[in-house]
């Protein structure tokens, strides 16, 4: 099944987003990475790469990111990971992760369908 990786500047935020998403998705492969190499606020490519490798079972992985350097580190992690079919969803990280987690439970889910579901979260208005 399609794996999902949540990347945030804060490991706690990334973990929390996974918790919320997991409540909707059950068993799927949902991994997270957050924090800089010193444990502070930031992002770093090695932990993202490891999360991608853990989340992958061969069906591809969709990565959700928060701000700025999260994108660059995720891109570099994708280049360095030994995994095919990894994409970054251009979506808000929390809502996108939730949508992706639900979409990944569909028996016909693909990396593209999961990414599209995540990106639909861009248009959700809240009030």
């Amino acid at each position: 099944m399609v794996g999902i990786v949540v990347v945030s500047h804060s490991a706690k935020a990334a973990e929390g987003i996974c918790e919320i998403a997991r409540e909707m998705s059950g068993e799927g492969a949902l991994e997270y990475a957050g924090g800089d190499p010193d444990g502070g606020i930031g992002t770093s490519s090695d932990p993202i790469r490891e999360a991608i490798e853990t989340a992958s079972d061969g069906d591809g992985v969709v990565v959700l990111v928060d701000l700025g350097s999260a994108v660059m580190n995720a891109e570099l992690a994708i280049e360095m990971a030994g995994v095919d079919d990894v994409v970054i969803a251009d979506a808000p990280v929390l809502e996108g992760a939730l949508n992706a987690a639900v979409a990944a439970t569909s028996p016909s889910a693909t990396v593209e369908s999961v990414r599209e579901s995540a990106e639909e979260a861009r248009d959700v208005s809240k009030v």
């Binding site: 800089d36 190499p37 930031g42 992002t43 770093s44 490519s45 350097s69 660059m72 891109e75 570099l76």
Partner: protein
Amino acid sequence: MPEEFERQCDLVVTALEAVADRLAEEKETLTELDSAIGDADHGANMNRGFQAALEKVSENDAGDPADVVKTIGVALVSTIGGASGPLYGGSIMSASQELEGGITADSSVAFAETYLETVESRGKATVGDKTMVDALTPAVHTYKKSIEVDDLDPLEALAKAVDAAQRGVEFTTPIRAKKGRASYLGWRSVGHQDPGATSTLMILEELLAVAAEELDGEIEREIDAEADVDPAELEAESPGEGDD
């Protein structure tokens, strides 16, 4: 060639040591610049990264200069973090392949160009965004032109590149940031010098200092110097036989 490679590897390590020392000394300065328009960690992150790169390089017995340079890039990616990890480390990794035949005037230009292209494409930044690209672009263009058009030796070319980078750093102060954390500040970013452009200049200055020291008296015609843009890396190299 192996002997030449060995000498080039040693020079790369000497340059790395100089850069690491400089960034350790300038840690507070970089952090101060970054606290004005960023998240106040540039000095600490760069220092941590280059100290880690030194350690890694001393553990490895690389056979050619491209390997040493790549090892530096990999270490920086793992230890700097944030945007500077991919921008410095990732770009050095990509550009290191230009040095596979050794460090020469030509390969140093190729290294510099690939480094710049990688920074631009990864950071999606262009000149005028108030980023390291503002220091790097004039440095790389000046280095290439000095070697390929003006036929200067690499040491002179590198000296001109450093001057160009210096002007690029000054240019970042009066402009508004369009990329990176500073862009969130909008107009409030005006009047502050960019930390990434500054660290890029510091690295280039150290490469020049090492090249001047190590190549003194050796430069005659087509030597190799290297450097330019590479943070971390480089320096100069081989006298003589050079070019490939």
